[in-house]
């Protein structure tokens, strides 16, 4: 079975945070898991590469462009939506 995009997204975020995917808490803020703004920028780059999509994330104004980065779960959901949109 082809893994859902969610698994790949979690894998990439986990790698950036130096955690196992199963240790990512969806209700956590990215900074709580060691993902500072630059860490998030790097992870988003890797996700864009993996799915060949463009994510509207501006590190100066997180949340602008409708991309919710308040929690890991929000980030995953937003990216999933972009992937499905294609």
């Amino acid at each position: 079975m082809i893994p859902a995009p969610r698994n790949r997204i979690l894998q990439i975020l986990a790698a950036q945070a130096l955690l196992r995917p199963e240790d990512l808490r969806l209700d956590a803020r990215p900074e709580e898991l060691g993902l500072d703004s630059l860490g998030l920028v790097e992870a988003i780059f890797a996700i864009e590469e993996a799915f060949d999509i463009s994510i509207p994330f501006n590190a100066q104004e997180p949340g602008a462009g409708g991309f919710d980065t308040s929690t890991i779960g929000a980030v995953v959901a937003a990216i999933e939506a972009l992937v499905i949109k294609g």
Binding site: L38, V41, E42, F45, E48, S54
Partner: protein, 392 residues
């Protein structure tokens, strides 16, 4: 004005991954020039260079992401220099590095990504990786240096300019210690392709001052030194490697690529004056000696004009290649070798004397008790920088 000495040295270059192995290779006249190994080699005419091989930097993944190879070489060299100098925390010290290309491999990879592979994004840290000042920033960060820090670019004279400026700062009393040196790592497809266009690269060998020489061979790497106020060094019982006695910087204001005999003469004479050194005192000159027909002829004539005697000359570019912005720094190691151990690094690739290049060229292993040396850098664009050193 303070006297300025060198109390630490470090390097990663094609001859070795530290000063000791570099000294050994230099003394033996062992050349690191060989077949190139890189992406798109089949599209290059020039397939030789001096590369750093078998080396891996001691960096965490989280640090490496910021570090183009040129910066990795610089930080490693700086760490070695600091370790040798044996200094503790240095809030007033800064670092001045010379670099001509900065993070050129990052530039090359990024352009390949967008133009050749058609990608629409580059790594988020592309800008801080490729900027010419990345080396200085990363060295300062790695060693906790809070003083004056920046990068100097003057093509092939970048390192000498950087070391010279740091020397002047310490001499003026602005800070008791400065790190200085240079780094370049331009051995990538784009870097070499650009140089090929100038038609100054040899496809076979680097033969400075020799009959039959046909161009330069590129290298890569870094060297960094700890420059210190001599009284400061003596007070703490530091081991002094050599003294930087003088420095000159001049501009030819002439052709963008052709060297100038008069320009080289002026630069060397100015360095001697600044060092209060007579031409007769100088026992060895580490020449710019690129192996091009033009540079070597001009430099030989200039040396003959300034130094009427038989001053020993060699070009270590024949051993480690032309490190461009890192050249003067790695070549300073040959000067330290001469002053500290009386070993003159031979010039490799020599075939026969060129009547147009009247120099007393060292081409075999040689020892000589020298007490004063000069290191020449005469860059494209007519920017010259010469360092004069004395034995400690």
């Amino acid at each position: 004005m303070a006297r300025v000495v060198i109390t630490g040295a470090g390097t990663v270059n094609p001859l070795g991954h530290d000063v000791a192995s570099t000294f050994a290779a230099m003394g033996a006249g062992r050349s690191a020039i060989g077949p190139l190994n890189l992406t798109d080699l089949d599209r290059l005419h020039v397939k030789i260079a001096a590369q750093v091989t078998g080396w891996k930097g001691d960096f965490d993944r989280s640090d490496l992401i910021w570090m183009d190879p040129f910066a990795q070489y610089a930080v490693t060299a700086a760490r070695q220099a600091m370790a040798q100098a044996g200094l503790g925390a240095l809030p007033e010290a800064g670092v001045i590095l010379g670099s001509a290309g900065g993070g050129l491999q990052t530039v090359d990879d990024s352009y390949r990504s967008v133009y050749q592979l058609g990608k629409n994004r580059v790594h988020p840290f592309t800008v801080p990786r490729l900027m010419a000042s990345a080396g200085a920033s990363l060295v300062a960060r790695d060693l906790g240096l809070l003083g004056p820090s920046y990068t100097v670019a003057s093509a092939c004279s970048s390192s000498n300019h950087a070391i010279g400026q740091a020397f002047q700062m310490v001499r003026m009393g602005q800070t008791p210690v400065m790190l200085a040196g240079g780094s370049d790592a331009m051995l990538c497809f784009g870097g070499i392709k650009a140089w090929e266009g100038l038609r100054v690269l040899s496809e076979t060998a680097c033969r400075p001052f020799s009959k039959g020489r046909d161009g330069m061979v590129m290298g890569e790497g870094a060297a960094v030194f700890v420059l210190e106020d001599r009284d400061h060094a003596l007070a703490r019982g530091a081991v002094i490697l050599a003294e930087i006695a003088g420095f000159s910087m001049t501009s030819d204001a002439g052709d963008m690529v052709q060297p100038s005999i008069h320009g080289a003469v002026r630069a060397m004479q100015a360095a001697l004056r600044d060092a209060k050194m007579s031409a007769a005192e100088v026992g060895y000159i580490n020449a710019h000696g690129t192996g091009t027909v033009a540079n070597d002829r001009c430099e030989a004539h200039a040396i003959a004009e300034v130094f009427q005697g038989d001053v020993l000359v060699s070009s270590t570019k024949s051993l480690h290649g032309h490190l461009i912005g890192g050249a003067g720094a790695v070549e300073l190691l040959a000067c330290l070798l001469a002053l500290q151990e009386g070993v003159i690094a031979p010039t490799a690739g020599y075939l026969a004397p060129d009547p147009e290049c009247p120099v007393n060229l060292v081409t075999q292993q040689k020892t000589a008790a020298v007490t004063a040396v000069l290191s020449n850098s005469f860059a494209f664009g007519g920017l010259n920088a010469v360092l004069a050193l004395r034995k400690a």
